[in-house]
């Protein structure tokens, strides 16, 4: 399974999860896990997603997220889970 972490940070507003999840749905990307907190009005979400079903490449998916970034005015970062596995699991 090709897994990636999508981290979303910025000022809290309504519909953040909905907007991101909708885009992932369009791209046929399954969400495996979500954690989310708000600290002092600051929204932080981490999503673990499965890229196996997606037809687009990593780079293309990243580009598809660009309008969502602009619309929500939030930082949305996607990286493969391999880096966390490499660092924290033997």
């Amino acid at each position: 399974m090709k897994k990636a972490l999508i981290s979303v940070t910025g000022l809290d507003t309504t519909g953040i999860i909905a907007r991101v999840a909708m885009k992932l749905y369009e791209l046929n990307i399954n969400i495996l896990d979500i954690t989310q907190t708000i600290l002092g009005g600051y929204f932080t979400m981490m999503m673990v997603v499965d890229l196996d079903g997606a037809e687009k490449s990593f780079e293309e998916i990243n580009l598809e997220l660009e309008p969502v970034r602009e619309e929500l005015k939030m930082s949305i970062h996607m990286q493969r889970m391999d880096i966390f596995d490499a660092m924290h699991r033997i």
Partner: protein, 448 residues
């Protein structure tokens, strides 16, 4: 499943603590490009580099995006050029520089000669061309190995290198002697070093190989902030754990690059390499251990601990560890070292002591422009002696700042940084250097 705090820790290392992969260096063997005629050799060299390294930069950028970690440099190291052509090597130098520009790397190392036991005609020609070549090329880096534990010290080469460094500084005087920042004099040079300016692809290397240099002094410094006042056992353990994590990412990047380019994975170099940015300093790891500045009594011990703990942590994290693998202590490329020199806490002699316990040597040190060639040769000989006797790599990268004296500042810009000119012991040594010949290999080199 990875825990949230682990994800945050990794992200924090990258975003706040300057953790990055310092370099993916593609080693390319050029022995098959050898030719009597330098122009024909240059054509083959250009073609082979462009063909082999075509996808290097693109692959590096893809991995960078997908893993979310900066890969700062993409570079190339090649077979020492004195081994592939007996002719005047200048056309090859220009071809190497053009090839580097064509494939988009920021440095190419290997304008080199291995002459620890003696010089060939090709070595002599290459040496003579270094000052001019480094002033006329942009990406090319040069290194010369003048000593080894097995062969002793070639004092003829040591003498010559003093003069070549002076000449290179003069020819690049308008850039504060920048040419000398691209010239390293080695003892026990390694064949798979991914770091510049001393990278070259040794004769024992395969056709080509991916070598990766990690970094992350900022990460180690922050880890030590959490163990303030604790005994050194805890300090060493903390560094080991951090080095393990850093190196695992280096290994991942190396494997990815190797798979995508279909080029064998060579090694991961564990070196902690600083940059002039705040929060990316090896010297600040030493001050975090309780020293006011690098150079204070205790500095050599602190560095010895750091260097050893980085290796112990890193060695478990990669299938193949190689290169220089230790802590780098370049002066101009490390904000903490610059501060220490400016504060009068760090002298050239203390730096020499520090090079006994870390990789690599007297690195990126600006010295007064009127320093004699013999004095520079003397410094090289001392550093080579440390390498030869201690069976380790040592190097000298000195920059005589033309027209400047101790205390003045020189600016190189970018990763090369800026440096206060350090004072040098100018006691006359010209008769010593004029002797020439070879200092014999030490008795402990006879291990067979």
């Amino acid at each position: 499943m990875i825990e949230k705090r682990e994800i945050l820790q990794t992200m924090h290392m990258i975003q706040q603590e300057n953790f990055d992969i310092r370099t993916i260096t593609l080693g390319i063997n050029l022995l098959d490009c050898s030719d009597r005629d330098a122009n024909r050799c240059a054509e083959r060299v250009y073609e082979k580099i462009c063909r082999t390294a075509r996808d290097l930069v693109k692959t590096g950028e893809e991995i960078e995006t997908e893993l979310g970690i900066p890969i700062v440099n993409k570079r190339i190291s090649v077979t020492p050029i004195s081994l592939i052509c007996q002719d005047d090597p200048r056309p090859i130098a220009l071809a190497l520089d053009r090839a580097a520009a064509e494939v988009g790397v920021n440095f190419l190392g290997g304008y080199s000669a291995l002459m620890h036991k003696g010089a060939t005609l090709a070595d002599e020609r290459l040496l003579a061309s270094i000052p001019e070549v480094l002033s006329e090329t942009k990406f090319l880096c040069s290194s010369v190995n003048v000593a080894s534990t097995r062969a002793g010290i070639n004092m003829n080469a040591v003498k010559e290198m003093g003069e070549i460094i002076k000449r290179t500084a003069e020819l690049t005087a308008d850039q504060d002697g920048l040419g000398c920042a691209k010239l390293v004099v080695f003892a026990n040079a390694v064949e798979d070093n991914p770091f510049m300016a001393g990278a070259f692809c040794g004769v024992g290397e395969p056709e080509c190989a991916i070598n990766v240099g990690v970094s992350g002094p900022g990460v180690v410094k922050v880890a030590l902030e959490h163990v303030k006042g604790m005994p050194f056992d805890v300090v060493a353990e903390t560094i080991k754990r951090t080095a393990f994590k850093i190196t695992r990412v280096g290994q991942l990047v190396a494997k990815e690059a190797s798979k995508r380019m279909n080029i064998p994975f060579g090694i991961v170099d564990l070196s902690l390499a600083p940059t002039p940015a705040r929060g990316d300093s090896v010297a600040h790891i030493l001050t975090e251990m309780g020293l006011l500045n690098a150079g204070a009594p205790g500095t050599t011990a602190a560095l010895a601990l750091l260097n050893d703990a980085v290796k112990k942590g890193g060695i478990m994290a990669s299938n193949h560890v190689g290169g220089l693998s230790g802590a780098f202590i370049p002066v101009s490329e490390d904000i903490g070292m610059i501060e220490a020199v400016s504060a009068g806490a760090l002298t050239l002699e203390k730096l020499e002591a520090m090079t006994c316990v870390c990789s690599v040597g007297l690195d990126m040190i600006a010295i007064p422009g009127d320093t004699s060639a013999a004095t520079i040769s003397g410094i090289i000989a001392d550093e080579a002696a440390i390498g030869m006797i201690n069976n380790k790599t040592t190097a000298v990268r000195l920059i005589p700042a033309v027209g400047k004296k101790a205390g003045d500042l020189v600016e190189f810009g970018g990763l090369l940084g800026r440096a206060p000119v350090m004072s040098v012991n100018t006691q006359d040594n010209s008769e010593f250097i004029a002797r020439g010949g070879r200092i014999p290999a030490p008795v402990h080199s006879m291990r067979n």
